[in-house]
Amino acid sequence: MKILIIEDEKQLAKSIVTALRTEGYVCEAAYTAAEANEKIPMFDYDCILLDINLPDDNGLAILETIKSLNKTDGVIIITARNSVEDKVKGLNLGADDYLAKPFFMPELIARVSAVIRRKRFDGSNKIVFQEITIDLFGKSVTVNGQELDLTRMEYGLLVFLTANKNRVVSKNAIAEHLSGDNAELLDKFDFIYSHMKNLKRKLTDAGSEDYIKTVYGLGYKFSA
């Protein structure tokens, strides 16, 4: 799966490329609007990460180009200007998602995987990892065909972890993902810990292997 990262901050672009590569994506980076405009007509991307504030052009113009070429590439807008108008404008122009800087890398990866899944699998939208199957439409999880009774939090946690498999996901990133803007929590780690404990128990009770490994001091890693 191919991803184009349009971001003028080279350091950030590099980090995004590295992180996405560990998830098995093929990544290209464009540091200017001109570069991006060269690449977009030539290749098909599964997902384009688009920074709106580019030195040579407004990212929204690139979005218009993508749509005018009738491309089906998924587009996630990344911006430092977290303004409602930009968001509305971007989504109206056909962007699939919107992410404000700064963001946690696992969050970005989860958004990318969600956009790609939405673009590629019409009808049945499922994530399959070994014996675990997540039905994203029905919001249900089965292990070896046996359905689990998960809370909303536990379900969200599992989807988030599977999108970031083989990577260490920090507790901070998980807390932010689960609570969104309400992440100003006390003892958010206790909060995550209790949900994670329940999720692990439910999975192993249903006969799944324990894929969620605790990385001491940091967070969790989902891997086979």
């Binding site: 901050e9 977290n82 409602v84 800087k101 609570s179 309400n182 006390l186 001091g217 940091l218």
Partner: protein, 423 residues
Amino acid sequence: MRLLQVNLRSLLLYSLILLIISIPVSFLSVRAILSEEIDESLSLQADQFTHHIQQFEYLDDLETDLGVIDQLSYNVHIKPGAEGPAAREYSTVSFYDSLEGETRPFRQLHTIITVKGKRYDLKVRTSLVDSQDLALAIGSVQVIVSILLTAGLLLINRRLAKRIWKPFYNTLERLRAFELDKSETIPLVESDIFEFNDLNKALSHLTEKSRMVYLNQKEFIENASHELQTPIAIFQSKLDALMQSPNLTQTEAETLMELEATAQRMSRLNKNLLLLSKIDNEQFLEKEPIELAALVQHQVNIQKPVAALHDIGIRTALEPLPLQANKTLLEVLITNLLNNAIRYSAEKEDIVITIHERTFSVSNKGKLLAIDFEKMKERFRKESTHPNSTGLGLAIVKKICDSCGYKMSYNFSNATHTFSIQF
């Protein structure tokens, strides 16, 4: 004291003093002049009388004639004798006036004259009634003129001052209505008085400059916050990359987590500052119909698991309250108040959330805070030293209330903190 009053008061005081002094002074001086005139005329009369008496040779029996004169004359009395004073003596005396039938004041000249070698006691009198009437008349005219003059001066001064100072009061009123964050520049009225025009110009300049500084500062905060987002994003992405390395020691892992939490805190501070400046810039103008009770319930459901971690329950009594408002702002408002309540609530106590009579209240048990409500609402004021607290929560709530016209109040009683928003 108002400017006009100061002016008027001094004038009035001066006029009054002048009036009080001038009435007796003018009356007395008129009387003195008159009485001097009368004395002179009495003296003249006495001279003439004496002269005539001494000239009349045909008077045979002087004694008898003088007796007749004494009897007949209204104002000349002459008697033989030498007891009277040698020099001319003036005095004011009262006599029964047979013409008028009442006792009246007279001015009298008393002297001794010698006629044909014999000394006589001579008294020449004149009635003082006419002169007193005159003095009274002159005095009254003087008083009336003085009163008219004073009243006229005061009236003119008053009207003139009012007209002259009008531009000043206009300017003052405009200044009072001026709000740095809301008003455009002050429209100042041209006046035909140089000083006021100068004042207006100086004020225009001052307000315009303050506004520019304010706007620049506002823009700076917004830009600074925006510009910080990207470096924080890079920072966070590099931390994430470091976390992926397989052989981290425990200390390294802990440091990484602390760094990430700090980055998150910076980012949150930044977002809150941006939110504040966005509310300032009125970027949340779109309003939609919102059922507050539903919105509150939704936020409560999100926060319940968090509160439950500390054995804090959330009880609600929500009356339906349909509002026309901006959803984003309302959500921020509810979330911030809820977050605060959870943060400052005593353990194992319930937070009570109510909507009653258009008022949304959040109460939590807790100890008395060291800072008062006014301070609480300031930016970066906080009681908690928790790293997750930015100290902007209540400042944002206040800003939202200010910009939307809601009324925010705080009450502490029975060890319970209650924040209320009246819609």
